[in-house]
């Protein structure tokens, strides 16, 4: 069987999850299977210098766009799938992957499972484990091949980073596909950190939906000040406008790795864990004992977060 592993990269860098897709493809494959990495983007160079762990690389580059739209990526992938006739396509769960996986499933009619953490092969079927309900439930699924899986970043180890042998590279020009697209890129914004860079912060106090309202953020901010920590928020808090976007941790915010991460009222959806699970010391406070944040926390407490913050602030200030 042939397995297509979708990869992404922009601004001269390959996304680390691209290397994870190659590992996932090896796990799903059997002896003799071929793993073909697929890349589409402005500049193929980072893919060519990193994705040698795959058996081949099919790369489409479009110099006429900084960030390839999912529409063009999906069309180029569909052409590659038609030519390669794979038994399995692995798509990373990313902003791009969300549009690409379902699009390919609708075009091919193939089964699709999202949010996949584990893959094993059973003849012409796959057994996969995926996350539902914000990671609170795992779904064991049986998937007839050919199929498409959207795989969670962080679920598989990165394959070794090495250059692709030139004889294993098939490169094509994607500028006509991008030029014909109906989704036209008109601008790219890079965040204005304005002195805030969570990715370099050593201590972070992160508030989640459990903080309740905007006024209560100040209570958490008080504790952050005592600890010399940056205040951060999960997506619902930032979406509510209670904290600015540059302070968001998670898939669509920043990926952080501080020495101390104190999570207050954060449930720990997979998208949040993706952004912080590698922190050195994780302390989580959430009244729901089944909150997935406890799966990554080194210390967890299920008390009311306001009572805890009041008590802890007092002890830290008085040194008792």
């Amino acid at each position: 069987m042939r397995i297509v592993a979708c990869t992404e990269g922009s601004f001269g860098k390959i996304e680390p999850f691209s290397l994870e897709m190659i590992t996932a493809a090896r796990m799903a494959g059997a002896a003799g299977d071929e793993v073909v990495a697929f890349f589409a983007g402005q500049d193929p160079e980072p893919a060519v210098t990193s994705l040698g762990a795959a058996d081949r690389l099919v790369a489409a580059s479009a110099g006429n766009t900084q960030l390839i739209a999912a529409e063009s990526y999906a069309r180029l992938l569909a052409d590659t799938v038609a030519a390669e006739e794979p038994g399995l396509v692995l798509v990373p769960y990313s902003a791009n992957g969300l549009d690409v996986a379902g699009d390919l499933a609708a075009r091919t009619g193939w089964p699709l499972v999202s949010y996949v953490n584990e893959i094993s092969r059973d003849g012409d079927w796959l057994a996969v484990v995926a996350q539902v309900y914000g990671g609170k439930i795992l779904a064991e699924c049986s998937v007839p091949l050919p199929a498409i899986l959207m795989v969670n970043p962080g679920a598989f180890a990165e394959a070794e980073r090495r250059a692709v042998d030139p004889s294993k590279l098939q490169h094509s020009d994607a500028t006509p596909v991008v030029a014909e697209g109906k989704v036209r890129l008109v601008g790219v914004e890079v965040p204005n950190y304005d002195g805030v860079d969570l990715t370099t912060a050593e201590r972070i106090v992160c508030v989640g939906r459990g903080i309740g309202d905007e006024a209560s953020i100040d209570i958490a901010r008080g504790l952050a000040d005592i600890l010399g920590a940056e205040i951060a928020g999960s997506r619902p808090v930032v979406d509510s406008g209670w904290l600015p976007k540059v302070r968001q941790v998670g898939k669509s915010g920043q990926k952080v790795k501080p020495k101390l991460y104190l999570a207050l009222g954060v449930s720990g959806a997979p998208e949040h864990l993706e952004g912080m699970s590698k922190s050195d010391l994780i302390i989580a406070v959430n009244t729901d004992p089944k909150a997935p944040i406890f799966n990554v926390a080194h210390f967890g407490a299920t008390c009311d977060l306001f009572d805890l913050v009041a008590n802890l602030s007092e002890r830290l200030q008085t040194g008792r």
Partner: protein, 254 residues
């Protein structure tokens, strides 16, 4: 311009989720159902577009409590409300409902379909790419801003690392909203009562149109909590322990 906005009622993931006897579903009897958070943002974005550029907003709801949420949608500014027939006691599978949404987009002559980028029940794929590909319309997932400029749609899409890409798309299109341009508005009781006078339409479900799909063999709760230590639920004891843990690791004091 006509906007179709899809509102899915899903179990409250913050609540206790228990499995059914056969282990293939979750026990829905005592669950609270709420509007998918991303769909709430999609509704808000639809109303904001209506206010900014003029549009007719058709709200389509599916699942337990649809009528309540449709009433809320009308109170917030939707012009038409339709309850889509759902399979009882099942997940709202976006792969399965895409056919119905496509049929409604066509029958209502929609120019723009908006829904939340994801739901916690879209295990078998997301509604936006399914509906977009089936309609043959461009689709973009993960928007944080939408506007109409010279009859084209401008969409800002959240990429990882805080990077945002802005695209221009000629309508028709399907957009998966992550965050509305403004936080969803509050509606007063009097507006809700007023909205309760609006007649709610109904739509029958259409076939999904897929020959083969993956199947759930079993659901289970994630095993072990991590290897972390549980400090309990007494705030004073927890504060004592955390103060000494933080001190021991050099975090107490700035």
């Amino acid at each position: 311009m006509k906007i179709l906005v899809v509102l899915r009622m899903i179990p409250d993931s913050a609540g206790e989720l228990e499995l059914t006897g056969d282990g293939r579903g979750i026990d829905r009897e005592w669950l609270d159902f709420q509007l998918n958070d991303f769909d709430d943002h999609a509704l808000e974005e639809a109303i904001l577009l209506k206010e900014a550029a003029g549009a007719t907003v058709v709200a389509v709801a599916i699942g337990e409590g649809s009528n309540r949420v449709l009433q809320m949608a009308v109170a917030r500014g939707a012009d038409e409300a339709i309850a889509l027939e759902a399979e009882a006691d099942g997940m709202i599978d976006s792969r399965a409902i895409a056919g119905s949404i496509v049929a409604l987009a066509r029958s209502k002559a929609a120019d723009l379909v908006l829904c939340g980028v994801q739901s916690t029940e879209d295990l078998f794929g997301q509604l936006v790419p399914y509906a977009g590909a089936r309609l043959g319309w461009p689709h973009v997932s993960g928007s944080s801003r939408l506007s109409i400029e010279a009859s084209a749609l401008r969409v800002t899409q959240e990429r990882g690392g805080g990077i945002a890409a802005t695209y221009e798309i000629a309508l028709p299109a399907v957009i998966g909203v992550q965050t509305a341009s403004k936080a969803p508005r509050y509606v007063s009781g009097s507006k809700l009562r007023e909205a309760s006078k609006t007649a709610m339409g109904k739509a029958a479900s259409e076939p999904a149109g897929f020959e083969r799909s993956a199947e759930i063999v079993a659901l289970r709760l994630p095993g072990q909590r991590g290897t972390g230590e549980n400090l309990g639920d007494n705030p004073e004891n927890v504060a004592d322990r955390l103060a000494s843990i933080l001190a021991a690791k050099g975090f107490a004091g700035v």
